[in-house]
């Protein structure tokens, strides 16, 4: 695939690996829903090839942050730079002007997103789910796109499902198709919003395996998840959000063994006691 020319990162072997330039820069972002302040001055920088896991209790703002990066929500303050774009705005005489729908859509093509509820397109087959955006939006050659889609299905371990409809697949299979659908747009960053939370326990690992594989091939990933096993295995950094703020940001070994924030200790004691 397009990642092959990149050297495989030496993840978790000799501590932190060398990082690329910043690819996602979140700067003092504010977001409210009907007077409910969900993101309070959140700043976070993610580098090329890095895997950042965001965790926190429900309502801490972690999913909202991810949705703001991908412009599924509009931010109220601050800026988000991702994959070379100033997301949702353009600068004009030092002021930020909101972009129109079509311009935002163009930015979103450089980011891939995977949802908790999969959100596959139920009215078309698996392969059409994957090729719809490349063929209909990017106007790529159909045969070529289908061949690439088959390669992606191979990569997520579903080579024989191209003609199935989403309803015929299990949750774990649907989520792997959703990952393939996002990858088909050749995104520079992949965002995962609790990708395994709606899955039966026995299906979680098949999705996590695909994600770990992706991280090993150098994909930049921001993952909102409660899967601490994944954080240990694949994350370069783990971030804890609490009440709309980032309260801890550390490499996994430090995060799990020597957390600085009281919130992290509380969070870990709750999540690890299950």
């Amino acid at each position: 695939m397009n990642q092959q020319d990149l050297p495989a990162p030496n993840r978790r072997a000799n501590g932190a690996r060398t990082l690329g330039e910043p690819i996602v820069v979140i700067d003092r972002v504010q977001k409210s829903f009907h007077g409910n302040h969900v993101l309070k001055d959140v700043s976070l920088t993610v580098h090329k090839g890095e895997v950042v896991v965001i965790c926190g209790r429900s309502g801490s703002g972690k999913s909202t942050l991810l949705r703001c990066i991908d412009q599924l929500e509009t931010i109220d303050g601050g800026t988000i730079h991702a994959a070379g774009h100033l997301m949702g705005f353009r600068e004009k005489n030092g002021k930020l002007v909101p972009l129109r729908d079509a311009q935002i859509a163009r930015q979103q093509r450089d980011l891939g997103m995977v949802f908790q509820s999969f959100n596959l397109f139920p009215h078309v087959s698996v392969i059409d789910n994957i090729t719809m955006a490349p063929v209909r939006i990017l106007k790529r050659d159909k045969t070529e796109a289908r061949n690439e889609a088959r390669a992606l299905l191979q990569r997520v371990g579903l080579p024989d499902k191209e003609n199935a409809y989403p309803r015929q697949l299990s949750g774990g299979q649907q989520q792997r198709v959703a990952i393939a659908r996002a990858l088909a747009m050749k995104p520079k960053v992949m965002l995962f919003d609790e990708p395994t939370s709606a899955l039966d326990p026995e299906m979680i690992s098949e999705v996590l395996d695909v994600m770990i594989d992706l991280s090993e091939q150098g994909m930049t990933m921001i993952v909102v998840t409660h899967e601490m096993g994944f954080a240990r295995a694949a994350a370069d950094r783990v971030v804890l959000m609490h009440d709309g703020r980032i309260v801890e940001e550390a490499p996994p070994e430090e995060f799990f063994q020597n957390p600085r924030s009281e919130h992290t200790r509380l969070f870990l004691s709750k999540i690890l006691s299950h």
């Binding site: 429900s58 991908d70 412009q71 599924l72 729908d101 079509a102 859509a105 163009r106 930015q107 979103q108 093509r109 980011l111 891939g112 997103m113 949802f115 908790q116 509820s117 999969f118 959100n119 596959l120 397109f121 139920p122 009215h123 078309v124 087959s125 719809m132 955006a133 209909r136 939006i137 409809y165 309803r167 015929q168 697949l169 299990s170 949750g171 649907q174 959703a178 659908r181 996002a182 747009m185 939370s197 709606a198 899955l199 039966d200």
Partner: protein
């Protein structure tokens, strides 16, 4: 008793009635297609327009659902010429039926669009679709599934509503039955034959409707075709969404 079987059978295949039935068919189809276009536009205006556009759509829907189609047809054909707008019978019939149908379909289409899962909007935006692409590729095709059954019923109604165009002398089934009745004053035979023709048209449509519905239902399959594990996932997801 004064019922004549020979007249009845003669009328059944009378050229006037056959032409009338054919007119009813194409008048219904054209009015429905135009009405569908109007309905989609009105639904979009109402759902996604700014305040002014929304009010225009709501006014249109309110006006055409709030007045009898009979009055609409008469005003278009015999009233508008007073304002210098002259439409012939066919134009008037099509315009009246389409405008009326569009107002009803707008609400059906709106309900269909709203029935599409919110996650579909997220997913289509996340792959970088513009509003137009989201509508055309993702939202409307799925709304179609919800819209098709009531749409079929609307067309069933349309086949019969076209009979009202007889008052502006549109030569469809009803009008031609009237003309036939006046020749020999075989009123009961003529209108019975017209009624039978409506029944035939509606019945044929029912068969077609079942096939169209089955076609749009295919990706979603019968409930039994959902694998047990997928169903379990679905129920879980619904529970989760309920808690969130």
């Amino acid at each position: 008793m004064n019922w004549s079987w020979p007249f009845f059978f003669d009328y059944l295949t009378n050229g006037l009635m056959l032409r009338g039935a054919w007119t009813t068919i194409w008048l219904s189809v054209i009015s429905m297609i135009l009405g569908l276009g109007l309905g989609i536009v009105a639904a979009m205006m109402k759902m996604y327009g700014n305040t002014v556009i929304r009010y225009i759509a709501e006014f249109y829907i309110w006006l055409f659902r709030g007045t009898p189609i009979l009055i609409q047809l008469v005003i278009i054909y015999t009233g508008l010429p007073q304002l210098g707008i002259r439409l012939n019978v066919i134009e008037s019939a099509i315009l009246g039926l389409a405008l009326n149908e569009g107002a009803y379909l707008a609400e059906i289409i709106r309900a269909g669009i709203m029935s599409v899962d919110k996650g579909q909007e997220d997913a289509s935006r996340a792959v970088g679709m513009t509003w137009r692409e989201r509508m055309y590729l993702v939202i409307l095709p799925q709304a179609t599934r919800t819209i098709i059954p009531p749409l079929g019923n609307q067309f069933n109604g349309m086949l019969k509503t076209t009979s009202l165009a007889s008052v502006i002398s549109m030569e469809e089934l009803m009008r031609n039955a009237q003309m036939l009745a006046q020749i020999e004053f075989r009123v009961l035979e003529a209108y019975s034959v017209a009624a039978i023709w409506y029944l035939i048209l509606v019945s044929i449509w029912s068969v077609i409707q079942v096939r169209i519905e089955a076609h749009y239902e295919k990706p979603f399959g019968p409930a039994a075709a959902v694998s047990p594990e997928a169903k379990k996932e679905l129920e879980k997801a619904i529970d989760k969404a309920g808690q969130a």
